[in-house]
């Protein structure tokens, strides 16, 4: 285990040093980009060249900034893209693009970043490289010194080196400095990333703007889904239970007419009426199960999933730390998501075993459904998974699918559970 850890910090260190080298190159590139951007700005009123130059330069700057964001991600610093989406119908160059660029605060923050980013990137990059390089020199110096003979030379605390004994001392010093350099390098990268985040990350306002557009999309999806659901229920009731009740009334009415004249037929009609009422009830039961399964109302998520697992053709184990009741909408969304996954397992996976794991930790509900089937499930290929992802998004929930060909398939879903925003709900009647 110790061996693995050692290799880990060496690998991290080497990776950081390599990134440092890359950062130096990238930092230098900032300078011409800065010049071109200023040029574009200056030329805008002159001949309108800016309308062409500025969008081009901005695209380059953004690509460059994106690269820095990606590199920051390697060292655990997440920087989201802050740019406004390009307005519909705007060409890549010209007035529309120009307006889109100059009105986006992120453009100016990128611009402000170019020079300080270059200086800090360069400085930290040089330090990242210099330390291990000097260490390496110490390690390799002794043979060099012996080779060069009595040429004036020094290393570390021995300056100049006057004897072969002192020359030997450069070896441990160099090793120490090399080690230090490798250990420090990832931290230097992190500092660089944090500095870049000051400029390249979205501002609070931009974050809120992105959140609003995300909420707009998920709300529209949720409203659509709900409307479609209501339409389906209406149609099911209209064509099913309602129609059966009408026919029930007619049959009983007819029986009433015939009860004196033809008791035998009346009896037959009544038996038929009972049959119809039983069919109507069966239909209503199926409908109710699709809207909100009674067992979910009675037992909550844990009990409902266990009840579901009991009725599957594939042996399914349920492991859960969800106790008590969750908020009703979350409970329902979580249940239907798990149910959908299990339906997929039974229908498509060819599995002989499935499991459900449900963890409620802090404010997060974590659901996992896995099987030992042949894998190859793809949310992009229009299965129920995509719809499920959209429904979970209404609760800020996420879903990820791991399903390599040959299996196994694991679907992981996360839902924030103790919602901090008060949710106003129209109360619906209980039975």
């Amino acid at each position: 285990m110790g061996c693995v850890e050692t290799r880990d910090w060496i690998r991290d260190g080497l990776r950081a040093v390599a990134t440092g080298l890359l950062t130096i190159v990238l930092a230098i590139m900032n300078i011409p980009l800065f010049v071109f951007f200023v040029l574009g700005l200056v030329l805008t009123p002159v001949l309108g060249f800016g309308l062409v130059i500025l969008p081009g330069v901005t695209a380059l700057i953004r690509a460059k900034a994106d690269l820095s964001r990606r590199l920051a991600g390697w060292w655990g610093v997440r920087i989201d893209r802050p740019y406004n989406p390009r307005p519909e119908g705007a060409l890549p160059v010209g007035w529309g693009a120009f307006r889109w660029i100059v009105t986006d605060p992120a453009t100016w923050r990128d611009f402000a970043w170019l020079l300080p980013g270059a200086v800090v990137g360069l400085a930290l990059g040089v330090v990242t490289l210099a330390l291990p390089a000097y260490g390496l020199e110490g390690v390799l110096l002794l043979p060099l010194w012996l080779y060069l003979g009595d040429v004036w030379y020094g290393y570390g605390v021995n300056w100049p080196i006057e004897s072969i004994g002192q020359a030997f001392l450069s070896l441990p010093q160099g090793a120490l400095i090399l080690m230090l350099g490798l250990v420090v390098a990832p931290y230097l990268r992190r500092v660089d990333a944090l500095f870049n985040r000051l400029f390249l990350g979205p501002t609070r306002a931009a974050e809120l703007r992105m959140r609003v557009s995300q909420l707009t999309v998920t709300r529209a999806d949720a409203v659509d889904a709900q409307a479609a659901e209501l339409r389906r229920i209406e149609r099911d009731l209209h064509d099913g239970a309602q129609a059966r009740l009408v026919s029930l009334g007619m049959t009983i009415g007819l029986a009433e007419e015939l009860v004196e004249r033809d008791p035998a037929t009346a009896r037959k009609l009544l038996a038929e009426a009972r049959e119809t009422s039983s069919d109507a009830l069966t239909e209503l039961r199926h409908l109710v199960r699709g809207i909100h399964p009674p067992v979910l109302a009675e037992r909550g998520l844990d009990g409902a999933v266990r009840a579901l697992a009991l009725t599957l053709r594939i042996p399914t184990s349920v492991d859960s730390t969800v106790t008590g009741r969750l908020e009703t909408p979350v409970e329902s969304a979580a249940y239907f998501a798990v149910a959908e996954c299990l339906t997929n397992v039974v229908r498509h996976s060819g599995a002989t075993f499935a499991y459900v794991s449900m963890r409620h930790e802090g404010d997060l509900l974590r659901l996992e459904v896995g099987d030992d089937g042949h894998g190859g499930a793809d949310p992009a290929r229009g299965s129920g998974l995509a719809g499920m992802e959209r429904r979970l998004a209404a609760f800020d929930g996420t879903m990820s699918v791991s399903s390599p060909p040959g299996g196994p398939t694991i679907v992981t879903m996360e839902l924030p559970c103790a919602s901090s925003s008060p949710r106003t709900m129209l109360s619906s009647g209980t039975d």
Binding site: P294, V295, A307, L310, D431
Partner: protein, 211 residues
């Protein structure tokens, strides 16, 4: 026969009372909420109780919980549980004490008055009555049942629902002798210990289906 009814819906409560009285049951107590079910059962010790699963104040499964608690306190207390929906999970919980005198039916079944009253009597007599839908759902998921023939599966379903050989024979239009031959085959194929006692037989079959 003394019977306690627990049902919160007034129409259904009256309907149940009327049906049971028409068949000479003595309705000694009618309860319309969850918390009073258990005290009433322990107090009255009826010959049979008919309980709705979902009762006020929480409208969850207090009827079922009361049934399980009452049978823990008074082993074998005959209870028939009614519900708008049936869950194999609830059936498992009701049957977990491995005693007879228990039933679990959809409320729809009450409309077939004759059969419903039969079921109440069967439960009162220590029998086990399981709704065909529970049985169907258990049969659906059991792969090992592929070794049975279609007719044997049919007989198994009837048996799990708590029917006697005579009743099965009448429903499937075969002789009782044929039924007992099928049952022997089923027990052999599934490796269940043969049992002459009807109720033991039902429990064995349900336990097998639910395993």
């Amino acid at each position: 026969m003394r019977v306690v009814i627990a049902e919160d819906h007034a129409l259904l409560r009256d309907g149940l009372t009327r049906i049971l009285q028409a068949f000479d049951f003595e309705v000694i107590a009618v309860v319309d909420n969850g918390p009073s079910v258990l005290p009433t059962l322990l107090d009255q010790k009826p010959d049979v109780a008919v309980l709705d699963v979902r009762l006020p104040p929480t409208f969850t499964d207090e009827g079922l919980q009361a049934a399980i608690a009452a049978r823990a306190a008074v082993p074998g207390l005959p209870i028939l549980v009614l519900s708008q929906h049936v869950e194999p999970l609830y059936a498992r919980e009701l049957l977990s004490d491995r005693r007879g005198g228990v039933g679990y039916l959809l409320k729809d079944r009450v409309s077939d008055v004759g059969q419903f009253v039969d079921a109440v009597q069967q439960v009162a007599g220590g029998g086990t009555v399981m709704d065909p839908e529970v049985v169907a759902r258990l049969l659906e998921r059991n792969r090992p049942l592929d070794v049975l023939t279609a007719r044997e599966r049919e007989v198994l379903g009837e048996m799990a629902a708590g029917r006697s050989n005579a009743a099965i024979a009448a429903r499937l239009f075969v002789t009782e002798k044929a039924v007992s031959k099928h049952i022997n085959n089923i027990f052999t194929k599934l490796g269940l210990p043969p049992s002459e006692d009807d109720n033991r037989r039902v429990l064995a079959v349900l336990a097998y289906l639910d395993s």
